[in-house]
Symmetry: C2
Subunit: 135 residues, 2 copies
Amino acid sequence: MNNGRFATALHILTLLEIKKEELLSSEFIANSINVNSAVVRKEIGNLRAHKFIESKEGKGGGYTLGKPASQIHLSEVYKSVNETPLLGRSNDPNPDCPIGKQINGHLKELFTAADETFLKQLGKITVRDFAKKFK
Amino acid sequence: MNNGRFATALHILTLLEIKKEELLSSEFIANSINVNSAVVRKEIGNLRAHKFIESKEGKGGGYTLGKPASQIHLSEVYKSVNETPLLGRSNDPNPDCPIGKQINGHLKELFTAADETFLKQLGKITVRDFAKKFK
DNA sequence: CATACTGTAACAATAGTTATTACAGTACAA
DNA sequence: TTGTACTGTAATAACTATTGTTACAGTATG
């Protein structure tokens, strides 16, 4: 992590909100983001598992939001693409060193606290709020 | 980014604070973190550029903090190892798409705001606070 | 001048991320 | 009932980022 998945996911959700009267195809979405359509379908697979998106298979199929954009908080989107907390990566310190032995516990505590603050901030914004900026 | 550099840097600074009466060698530090000593020297090169650490070359040389641990805020440490804001990675969306054209601007705004919140939280904690947990 | 360090560069190895290809499955519509 | 246009998903390749390794010049010390 820090990959571009959050940006991709938010782009997808924003498009679906802005064009909510239509079913959008992975091809159309991929063209806007400028990535491969299989990447879009994969990311949508994840977003669908989280109920943010519904899909319709077959000819004329495509995607719509799975719930009102005003009910999708960016914190949820973030968590759906990144289970590891921010800063999450630690080392494998030497367990024979008194400091090394303890540090990961303390780091985890710190990371968790910072992560909560961060998510709280993202939780104040919904896909609807974000999409409004485009109108 | 999200590499382990923040964890490494904080580990180094914590060791220096806890053993502040001694000069620590890169070898000693590397042993505690369980990484190669050249990696430690490299990371310290960066931390020294930010005045968090002072070094002494030559035989009997090593490292000490460059300022009191109570004056080193974790937000500064974070920024010294990661210039990109959290979430920073975007895509290269299609400039011919009206949404794609605008999205990076809006994303950047969002990322910056979330980043500030995050750094504000880390700014409340100093290396001294963190090191105290080990006593 | 031998020794024990740091500083740094060049490069190798590993891991993480994204792109590509392919194709089975599904719905629609003639 | 068959062609068409989609989704779903797996396999895998290409790329990029990160970390590790080796090497050695430079520096302070005794």
